[in-house]
Amino acid sequence: MDYETVIGLEVHAQLLTASKMFCSCPNQFGDKPNTNICPVCTGQPGVLPVTNKKAVELAIKTALALNCTVEPSSVFARKHYFYPDLPKNLQISQYELPLATKGHLEIEVDGVKRKIGITRVHLEEDAGKLVHQGAARIMGADSSLVDYNRTGTPLMEIVSEPDLRSPREAAVYTETLANLLRYLAVTDAKMEEGSLRCDANISLRPKGEAKFGTKTEVKNINSFRAIEKALLAEEKRHEEVLSEGGKITQETRFFDDVTETTTGMRGKEYAHDYRYFPEPDLVPVEPPRTWVAEIKATIGELPWQRKARFVGLSVAGEAAQLLVNDKPLADFLDAAVKLGAKAPTVANWLIGDITAYCKENKKELAGLNFPPAELAELLTLIEKGTLSNKIAKEVLFTALQTGKPVKEIVAASGMTQISDEGELLKIAQEVVKSNPKQVEQYKGGKEAVMMFLVGQMMKATKGRANPEAATRLLKQALG
């Protein structure tokens, strides 16, 4: 039988705030364990949590970019469960009345555009971190150590409708969403560091059947690559069970990145019964319309709109996508274009040499003292014929490395292209004289030898000859 796969995703993103969700502990990663904790986030008796305005703002910003309706009134709720990473034995979340509902995100999978429904966007607090002892993971560990630094970190949950139809679509959806969230600067969306996490609900149904099959929830997906892998594994397992006439049990399953299989959680708690009720210590959030409008105004151009604009400036689609995936690059392009540089050329340098340099040296473009004006200057020098492409790359490298202005580097190095044709002709004559064998071959009809001769000119001028002029003058020298 042919089956159709149905997937819905829950994406959790840690928000980029200075302080935690309900207390003023610093929201930062990598500090000594249990130093960013206070009576509020560790749930001491008698404390009063107060909602972080910035977290609400970032979640509203996200909701608006996802075409959601910001609810006139939303309420925090207590979700009860017992786990050592949860000091209060409850998590403050939102349940019946989330911050925003009913939106969508458009994704493009292999050239086909699809609209994926967003059920809700809500706010909650993150739990702490466990370090297991005696085993690498919780299964088999003898004991665990708990660090509550992460407890209370503002967390935004984005729930999709069961609109995804393949593991590949699920992966594209998550990447598109992560790119959007990064673009909006609401989270750094690093799956490997846990600032973006993804749980997937998957079920299969016979093709043409309207009713959903029994779903399982796949957890422990720790990288973008793992999304597709985990869901392919779970999809295959469902298909095998169903085609043998078996039944899928509704359960939570763990994905193992090494074996690329999912396993049911042993010793799993009995059916979820979170006993939600409104958090009595927190009053409803009713964002005034004026505030929502102000937040909306800060969003500006969305990544897909910007991509379309770049394509309109003759930037290739793939390059435009790479640029909007990394907002500082997109901003850089716009600034350079404003200074008169051509968009496709800027795009090539940005995603080519500049990105390569940043990756190699583990640096951010913003930290390199290489403003858009410098690239624009460099491109002007190439266009005017002052610099060859090859030399320009060297200038770029020096500029990125030293932070010195392009003009200064060029002036100091004498790397400008030789524009005096008389001088170039002299060099061409030299090349002809010292390579009689190749000249012979060329004259005998082997035109490809010209490449070699041009190369010799480049060598003699340390790359300062314009290749076109070199070819022309060599031909002149050859008579």
């Binding site: 705030t17 200075a18 302080s19 003023s24 502990c25 610093p26 929201n27 000594k32 364990p33 249990n34 130093t35 960013n36 904790i37 206070c38 009576p39 560790t42 001491q44 107060v50 909602t51 972080n52 305005k53 910035k54 977290a55 609400v56 009134s73 309420v75 009860h80 017992f82 786990y83 050592p84 009345l97 466990l130 370090v131 919780i138 299964m139 560990a141 003898d142 004991s143 665990s144 150590l145 708990v146 660090d147 509550y148 959680m265 042993r266 010793g267 009995y270 019964d273 006993r275 409104p278 009595p280 927190l282 009053v283 409803p284 959030v285 009713e286 964002p287 005034p288």
Partner: protein, 93 residues
């Protein structure tokens, strides 16, 4: 109305004696009966409320401040290792 005290106790991780189960079952039944009597009221024109006080939007500016009481909080843990709370095996098996 009766309540499944075993279920509720298990959810709350409470170990109850038989006598306590009986005691709490009776008390919880009385609470449920009171709630049931409230259900009879006509609330058609009353908007649902999550809170008893008419307040909204109590928000704080996103400013971090140094954590105090850290060591006092740590002192609550029976076993501390590497400045972390040590807990017994979480999942059996």
């Amino acid at each position: 109305m009766r309540i499944d005290v075993d279920h509720v106790a298990r959810l709350a991780r409470l170990g109850l004696t038989e006598a306590e189960k009986k005691l709490f079952a009776d008390q919880l039944a009385a609470i449920l009966d009171l709630a049931a009597s409230l259900q009879k009221l006509d609330t058609e024109t009353v908007p649902p409320t999550a809170h008893a006080i008419p307040m909204k939007n109590v928000l704080r500016e996103d400013k971090a401040s140094p954590c105090t009481d850290v060591e006092a909080i740590m002192a609550n843990g029976p076993v501390i290792e590497d400045h972390m709370f040590k807990v017994p095996r979480i999942i059996e098996g």
